[in-house]
Structures are given as structure tokens and as C-alpha cells.
């Protein structure tokens, strides 16, 4: 059995995603979603306080992905508003971790993280090396992303969440294609983000123990 690398991570690796002083909460008011003309859901209201983890569950087509994409502005809602309590623009403070991972096949993991670090407004981007270790991709650091397995690609995409720290994480079924170690990685990251006062909205079919809020979307 190939021994998966253990994740030796030191708190220094995680810059505070959002310092706890100005904790910000996410407010969703009578949100509605429609696919073309079919209404997927309507009159959705909730508030996610700073440091909260919201688990969104529901059958396929219930609108989980649409909700996540609406929160980060990648999908226009049919009605309703989504805002942060300090009413700063939402999109630039979001990470969207979806099925299409946005990774570039011709780059290597090291290069990917190198650029992701640069795409952040935070002062001290976390060291690329630590993130590679964290994602368990140290050995594959200089291979092309196209040669990585589905699980390894997911981990590299997860490493991006830390490469450019942002307040709000939108994770669309982050556990898929991950082994036990990979799932630990997701839990670690989410817990770390919550402790740092950030917000996490996580869509998953399986139960998410560390989520303190739960939203069920019925198809």
C-alpha cells in the first residue's frame, strides 16, 4: 500500500484568511434561482456569521452549484440579494472551488501555486513549498498538471485556497475523488478558515460533521 505523505503543516503555513477583528457575515435575502425559465428555488433567506461553515445539501439539480455560483457572482440570481455585512464587493473576496478546477494542464503544480500566490492582494503569500507539501504534491511538483490524477488535481486546486487567502470559500463537493488523506486535508483547511474568522459554504452529498449550519435544498 503506498504510504500517503503525512501532512506536516505548521500554523505559519496558514496566513490568517481573515483576521478575527473585523468578522464579516454573509447575508442572503429572498434569493431565487431559475434555470432558463424553470424556477429552481425561491425565497431563500439565511445569514452565515463570521467563522461559520454552512453545509448545503440536496439532490442533483436542487441548485447547490447554482447557489454557490450566485454567492460569488458567477451566476445572476433571478431575484433577491447576497451581501457581506460590511457591504464590500463580494466577488473579489470569494474562492470558488468547483468541478471544473481551472487548472492549466501545461503548467506544473509549482508554477500553478507560484502564480496563484501572485493573484492575491495579501501581503505575504504563503510559501509555495509548504503548500505543495500540504497538498501532498511535493514529488509531482515539477510534472505537468496534465499528468496528475483526478485526486491530485483536486488537492492542487485546494492548495489554491491558501495560496491567495480570501474571506469566503465556496466549495462544490470538495470531497469527490479524494482519498482519506485528501478528506482530512479538506477538513483541516475548512476548520482553519473558520477559526480565522472566514466563511465557508460547502455543497456535499455526504454529511459534513464540522459544519455548524445546514441548508437542505429540495429539488
Amino acid at each position: 500500500m503506498v504510504k500517503t505523505e503525512n501532512f506536516s503543516y505548521t500554523p505559519a503555513v496558514f496566513p490568517a484568511a481573515a483576521d478575527t477583528k473585523n468578522q464579516v457575515s454573509l447575508r442572503v435575502e429572498n434569493l431565487a434561482c431559475a434555470r432558463g425559465l424553470r424556477v429552481v428555488f425561491a425565497d431563500l433567506n439565511f445569514t452565515l456569521a463570521g467563522g461559520g461553515v454552512l453545509h448545503v445539501s440536496g439532490a442533483n439539480g436542487a441548485g447547490k452549484t447554482s447557489l454557490l455560483r450566485m454567492i460569488c457572482g458567477l451566476l445572476a440570481p433571478a431575484a433577491g440579494t447576497i451581501s457581506l455585512s460590511d457591504s464590500t464587493p463580494l466577488a473579489p473576496q470569494c474562492h470558488y472551488h468547483g468541478h471544473a478546477d481551472g487548472l492549466k494542464n501545461t503548467l506544473t503544480p509549482r508554477e500553478t501555486i507560484f502564480y496563484e500566490n501572485r493573484f492575491s492582494t495579501s501581503q505575504e503569500p504563503s510559501a509555495a513549498e509548504d503548500l505543495l507539501v500540504l497538498a501532498g504534491l511535493r514529488k509531482q511538483a515539477d510534472q505537468r498538471v496534465s499528468t496528475l490524477s483526478a485526486g491530485q488535481r483536486r488537492r492542487l486546486a485546494l492548495a489554491r485556497l491558501l495560496a491567495a487567502p480570501r474571506r469566503l470559500w465556496l466549495l462544490d463537493e470538495p470531497y469527490t475523488a479524494l482519498d482519506a488523506a485528501g478528506r482530512d486535508l479538506v477538513d483541516t483547511l475548512v476548520r482553519r478558515q473558520a477559526e480565522a474568522g472566514g466563511l465557508v459554504v460547502l455543497a456535499a452529498h455526504e454529511p459534513v460533521p464540522l459544519a455548524d449550519n445546514h441548508l437542505e435544498l429540495d429539488a
Binding site: 431565487a32 432558463g36 425559465l37 424556477v39 425561491a42 440570481p77 431575484a79
Partner: protein
């Protein structure tokens, strides 16, 4: 349900008021168009031969109004898109979509009649004259606009994308005209534009103006018919999605 979703209804609003008005206007607009057209044709038949071009000048009475309508229709599409985007009135998108094929047909008419008019004078079916070339480019602007509507299935995206193209295209039309005119002088510096209309004294001017008004009302009438069709198709899409 639809009305409560404001962003959605901003795209799919159900213009009852407009449909009642359109139904009332439909017959009058069509009758005015046909009457003015009949008057125009009657006046054209009474026109003497032009001392230069002989009888072929009669083609002008169809070619020139068609070219006018080709340009007018595109301005109509631009302003309809502006209404839709700026005033957030969804009818604008449908009006622009309705007018496009009508504009394209008038452009085609202007091209074919232009070639038919040119043939007896220069012995060739097509001459790269500044005005005819501009009209040819305008035809492709229409085809691009219509193709964009047809290529996108999601109505919301199609409406937004085509309005962007309408704005970009509208800015481009005068630039094309300017560049084609300059291009024309480049290659035929001396001769005046071959399409200089014959001396337009009353015998030619009035029939031309009447035909112009007739084509204008024809354009409005056909577009009004198509707009009612588009609104009903929109209502159909909404009803089918609610079953």
C-alpha cells in the same frame, strides 16, 4: 410566479398593454403602408425617362428607399437594444430581434436592385462602388446579428449578447461608410461616385419621397407583425416552462 422574480421578469415581462396596443395598431399601419405604396407606384409609373439613364432610372425608386430602410432598420435595432438595456424594458430585445430579418431583406433588395441598376450602365453585374460596398458590409452585419440570436439557446444570454453586438455594430456602421468612401477615392480618384442620382427635380423627387415613406411603413408594419410573434413565442416559452 414569474412576476415576483424581478431580475427574471426584467427579461421575460409579459407586455399585455403592448399587445393590446399592437393588435389595435396592426391593421391601420398595414393599410397606410399599402395605400402609400400604391400611391408611390402610381407616381413612379408617371415619371418621364431620365435624359441620361433613360428608363433605368425607375430602378432608383426601389433601390434608394431600400437602402434607406437598410440603415433605418439597424438604427431601430440599436435604439431598441438601448431601451432594453438602459431602461430595462424587455420589449426592446424582442423588437430588435423582430426588426433584424426585415432590415436584412431590405439590405438584400438594395444590393440586388443596385446590381440591376448598374448592369445596363457599366455592363457588369457588380461594381465595387462605395455605396454598394457599404450596403454589402451592412448585410453581413445583419447576418452576424441574426446568427448570434440563433446560436444561443438561453434567451437571457442571447438578449444580452445581441444587444452588445448591436451597440458595437452601430458604432461600426459610420466608420465602415467613411473607410469605404476613402477606399473608393483611393482607387478611382477622378470620377464622381457613379451612383450620383440624376438631377432630382420635382418629377423624380416626389415619387422617391413617397416610395421612401411607403417603405418606411412597410418596415414598421412587418416589424410590428414580427414583434407580436416574438412576444407570443416568449409567452409560449414561459407557459411551457410552467407545465
Amino acid at each position: 410566479m414569474l412576476e415576483r422574480l424581478e431580475n427574471l421578469s426584467a427579461l421575460y415581462a409579459n407586455p399585455h398593454r403592448f399587445m393590446k396596443l399592437a393588435a389595435r395598431l396592426h391593421a391601420p399601419v398595414w393599410s397606410v403602408a399599402l395605400v402609400v405604396l400604391a400611391l408611390g407606384l402610381f407616381m413612379v409609373s408617371g415619371v418621364p425617362d431620365d435624359y441620361q439613364q433613360g428608363a433605368t432610372v425607375r430602378i432608383m425608386f426601389v433601390h434608394v428607399p431600400a437602402a434607406w430602410m437598410a440603415l433605418f432598420a439597424y438604427s431601430f435595432i440599436f435604439f431598441a437594444s438601448l431601451v432594453a438595456v438602459v431602461l430595462r424594458h424587455p420589449l426592446g430585445y424582442l423588437a430588435a430581434r423582430a426588426a433584424a430579418p426585415v432590415g436584412a431583406v431590405f439590405t438584400l433588395v438594395a444590393l440586388v436592385t443596385g446590381a440591376l441598376w448598374g448592369q445596363p450602365m457599366w455592363g457588369t453585374w457588380w461594381v465595387w462602388d462605395a455605396r454598394l460596398t457599404s450596403v454589402l458590409v451592412l448585410l453581413f452585419i445583419y447576418l452576424g446579428y441574426i446568427a448570434l440570436w440563433e446560436a444561443i439557446d438561453d434567451y437571457g444570454r442571447a438578449a444580452r449578447a445581441t444587444s452588445i453586438l448591436a451597440f458595437v455594430g452601430f458604432v461600426n456602421v459610420p466608420i465602415v461608410k467613411f473607410s469605404v468612401d476613402w477606399w473608393n477615392t483611393l482607387h478611382q480618384p477622378a470620377s464622381v461616385s457613379r451612383f450620383a442620382r440624376p438631377a432630382l427635380h420635382a418629377d423624380f423627387l416626389y415619387p422617391l419621397l413617397v416610395m421612401g415613406v411607403a417603405f418606411l411603413f412597410l418596415f414598421l408594419a412587418i416589424t410590428l407583425t414580427r414583434l407580436q410573434m416574438e412576444v407570443l413565442r416568449q409567452r409560449l416559452r414561459v407557459r411551457q416552462s410552467e407545465i
